[in-house]
Every structure is written in structure tokens, then in C-alpha cells.
């Protein structure tokens, strides 16, 4: 198992070699954008247009922080010209991919943890700027909902990662012509999921999608629903992972 964790660790290494994104001028633009976003959020909080629940809407979108990079995970072996080392390793292709999956997942968990910190900071800011709306009671409810959303998102992330890997593996294989079909599948999955989360969970009692109202359904996601969603998500991920492993093993040449 020694080699497995070395391969997992190498996923992080591969991420490091992202020249463009770590350039200092790029960092300045990102910092500026973040300040702008945070500034407008604080403004809205102060004027009461945004309550605690509304902030939670970004949680499901965290899966895109896993989806995008996952496509690059496999592709980077090709673009970095290390594919001849990677594909000749004496381990099953499924192990090679699983190591990348685990590496990506661990990386994503750190981002998710970071997002929790950001939420906590905004909770504090909210209490400071607008104690009328941001009461401890409201924050308590929001926290409970946040936990449920995070759990659902964590369960959905393997699906996003395996989908990204499938896209990348297909792109570098003989089945490349199938790529448009897979992309359509991915887009359909993503839009259905977002559709479900945003529309069915973030609507007011009249059935309209409207900020800052939040559906009662969101505060009471029942355990059975959560379990079925998690199991379904993992099951789908396993199937997609199997497909990606098959393609890497049988349909890929380097």
C-alpha cells in the first residue's frame, strides 16, 4: 500500500505545477475581486437584503471546485509528458485512478473546510452589522441546514470527481469521439442537481424562487432522503469510475 499513498500525494504535486494561476499579478486580480465581493455582501447584510440562510446557497456549488480540477487531473499526465511513467506503473489502472480520486477528494475537503470558516466569519460579521436579522436563533437554524447541505455536497463530490476523470480519460483514448455524449451527460447531471437544489430547496411558501426566502423543505431534510441520496451518489460514482478504469485499461494508448 506504500505506493498508493505516494500516488495520492503526487496528485497534490501535480496541482502545484500550475504556472499561470500562481503568478503574482494574477493573485492581485483575485484579491481585488474577493474584496469587491465581500464588500458588496457586507453592504447587503447591513441593509438587511441578505439573511443567514441565503449564504448557504453556495454550498452545493462547491462540487464545481472538484469537477473542474478533476478533468485536469488525468490530462496533466499527458500535458506534463509524464504519462509514460504513469501508465507503465505495475499497478491496476483502477488503482492509479483511485489514487487520483482520493487525492482530489482530500484536496477538496480542505476547500470545503475553508468554506466553513468563511461562513463562520460572515456569521460574525452579520451579527455585528445587522443584529436584527442575524439573531442567534436564525443562525442556529441556518447552521443545522448548512450541516445537511454539506453532507449532501460531500456525498455528491465523488460523482463530480469521477465525472471529471471520465471526461479526461475519454479525451485521451480511442473513444474520444464519444466525448460530446459524455459532456452532455455531465451537463445534464449538473443542471439537474443545481435545478433541484436551487429551485426546490430555495423557494418561498408560494412556490416562487425568491431571495431571501427559503423553503421549509430545506429546514427539514429527512434522514431517509439523505441516506438514499448518498447511496445513489456513491453508486453512480462507482459506475462512472468503473467506466473510466475500463477506458484507461483497454482503450488508451500513449
Amino acid at each position: 500500500m506504500n505506493e498508493f499513498w505516494a500516488l495520492v500525494g503526487n496528485t497534490r504535486q501535480l496541482k502545484k505545477s500550475n504556472g499561470l494561476r500562481t503568478a503574482s499579478w494574477w493573485k492581485i486580480y483575485i484579491a481585488f475581486f474577493c474584496l469587491l465581493a465581500m464588500g458588496s455582501l457586507c453592504f447587503s447584510i447591513y441593509h438587511g437584503t441578505i439573511g443567514p440562510m441565503v449564504l448557504l446557497i453556495f454550498i452545493p456549488f462547491l462540487i464545481f471546485a472538484a469537477f473542474g480540477p478533476s478533468i485536469g487531473l488525468v490530462g496533466r499526465e499527458w500535458s506534463g509528458q509524464t504519462v509514460s511513467w504513469w501508465l507503465t506503473l505495475p499497478y491496476p489502472r483502477a488503482e492509479l485512478l483511485f489514487a487520483k480520486l482520493v487525492g482530489m477528494f482530500i484536496h477538496w475537503l480542505k476547500i470545503a473546510a475553508g468554506s466553513v470558516v468563511v461562513l463562520a466569519v460572515f456569521a460574525a460579521v452579520g451579527m455585528l452589522l445587522n443584529p436584527v436579522v442575524w439573531t442567534t436563533g436564525a443562525l442556529g437554524i441556518a447552521a443545522a441546514v448548512a450541516v445537511k447541505l454539506y453532507i449532501l455536497t460531500i456525498a455528491a463530490t465523488p460523482l463530480a470527481i469521477t465525472m471529471g476523470m471520465l471526461i479526461s480519460v475519454t479525451r485521451h483514448s480511442r473513444l474520444r469521439p464519444l466525448m460530446p455524449i459524455i459532456m452532455i451527460m455531465a451537463i445534464w447531471l449538473a443542471t439537474s442537481a443545481i435545478n433541484y437544489v436551487v429551485i426546490s430547496l430555495f423557494h418561498n411558501t408560494a412556490g416562487d424562487v425568491a431571495f431571501p426566502y427559503v423553503s421549509p423543505a430545506l429546514s427539514s431534510i429527512n434522514p431517509l432522503f439523505m441516506i438514499t441520496s448518498i447511496v445513489a451518489g456513491l453508486f453512480l460514482s462507482a459506475i462512472i469510475f468503473g467506466a473510466a478504469s475500463y477506458i484507461l485499461a483497454e482503450q488508451t494508448e500513449a
Binding site: W5, T82, T88, L89
Partner: protein, 230 residues
């Protein structure tokens, strides 16, 4: 004893045949040079042996098995167009290689680092082409495996690095009887390393044999090459 056997192996890319019904046996425990012009099929030959490409026809036997990732546990393959992971330091490269490659002799790798003059704390991405080539070769040489495939290990490398690489190869071969297959364009520099030689053109074997016997019959490998491909 044949380490590698190819029987009527064909591999085509579109209408172009990289390997054209190629039949070849490569001796165990010997250094074999694969020589031929660009596009002759040398790289495709190597890739077929390690299973990176699958032939359209024919049969390949490597170390008494079919080419696959399982067999690659005993094969050290250096591709002609590969880089090492640029974000690694030299030291981490060795640690990583020791973890993922079976039969990796870490002590030997450290010795080779010293004799090849590589600084451990340097990031691989900042190494010159010659130094990166030395590192890639060290990673292959430090593996205690039965078969080593080097696809153009000298290509585009400075003189001193080439000499270091040759030194490392001789050392390795003297120490353990490995099968080493090398393809190169630096014929004059490398020909004194070969026990056997195979000349390939357009996916087929044009000439092969024991190097010293060929020298007796026809002269230097360089002159034979000129005679065949000019």
C-alpha cells in the same frame, strides 16, 4: 535466451505503418542498440514492448509474458518524450520513485545522484535539460529490474551529461546482468556500448547481428548505417 520476441508485429497509425510485420528477437543479458532514421518505428517498438500501444497484428513476448502493466514491474522504460514531475525536488523524486517503483534501490540512487553531480534540494522544473536527463536515467538505473528500455536517452543532451549517462550505464551493466535496449542517433558515441545491434527502417528490420562480428565483416556501425540509409 530471448528477453523479448516479436513475431510479425504490425502497428499502423492511419495509413502509415509504424511497425510492418516486424520480427525480432532481443537477447537476454546483452546491450542491444536499435538504430534507424527518424520515423523508422523505434519508439513504437518500445511502446509496444511496455504495452503503451497495442499492435494491430502479431505477437509480442516480453520476459515470457505478454506486454502489460504486470510485466512492467520488471521493466525500466525511459520514453523519448518524457519529463519528470517538475514540482518535485530531486530528493523527493527519489523518495517518490522508491515508493512507486518495485525493486528500487534507494541507496544506489543516492550514489548515482552524487556521481552525476545532482543537487538534492533543487526543483526538477529548474534543472537544465542535461541534468533532468541525468535524473531520469538515475531513476531507471536505480531499479533492480531484468529489462531496461532507453528510447533516445542522449537526444539533445550536452556532452558532459552524455558522458555521465554512459558512465552510469557501463557501471550498471557491469554490476548486474540486465538486458538493456537503447535507441539512439549518437551512433559514434554509443556504438562501443552495444553487444548486439538492430537496424530498423519503415517498421522492418533491415539488418541485425552481433556488433563485433559486423565490425569484422563490414566496418564501424556508423559506416554500416550510412551504407544502409544514405
Amino acid at each position: 535466451m530471448m528477453a523479448i520476441n516479436l513475431e510479425n508485429v504490425t502497428k499502423a497509425y492511419g495509413s502509415q505503418r509504424a511497425l510492418d510485420s516486424l520480427t525480432l528477437g532481443l537477447f537476454e543479458g546483452q546491450v542491444t542498440g536499435i538504430l534507424g532514421p527518424n520515423g523508422a518505428g523505434k519508439s513504437t517498438l518500445f511502446k509496444a514492448i511496455v504495452g503503451l500501444v497495442r499492435p494491430d497484428a502479431g505477437r509480442i513476448t516480453v520476459l515470457d509474458s505478454r506486454p502489460s502493466w504486470k510485466t512492467n514491474g520488471q521493466i525500466a522504460y525511459l520514453s523519448d518524450q518524457c519529463r519528470w514531475y517538475g514540482s518535485h525536488t530531486v530528493q523527493h523524486s527519489i523518495d517518490y520513485a522508491a515508493a512507486v517503483f518495485p525493486h528500487f534501490d534507494q541507496k544506489r540512487a543516492e550514489q548515482l545522484l552524487a556521481s552525476m553531480g545532482l543537487n538534492r534540494d533543487v526543483t526538477v522544473g529548474t534543472l537544465s535539460k542535461g541534468h533532468e536527463a541525468r535524473l531520469k536515467l538515475i531513476i531507471c538505473l536505480a531499479r533492480d529490474v531484468r529489462l531496461m528500455l532507453l528510447d533516445e536517452p542522449f537526444s539533445g543532451i550536452d556532452l558532459v551529461s552524455r558522458e555521465k549517462i554512459i558512465q552510469g550505464l557501463i557501471e550498471s551493466f557491469a554490476e548486474r546482468k540486465q538486458t538493456i535496449i537503447i535507441s539512439t542517433h549518437e551512433i559514434r558515441e554509443a556504438e562501443s556500448l552495444f553487444d548486439q545491434v538492430v537496424f530498423i527502417d519503415q517498421g522492418q528490420v533491415v539488418l541485425s547481428g552481433e556488433v563485433e562480428a559486423l565490425r569484422q565483416e563490414k566496418g564501424s556501425l556508423e559506416s554500416i548505417y550510412r551504407g544502409l540509409f544514405q
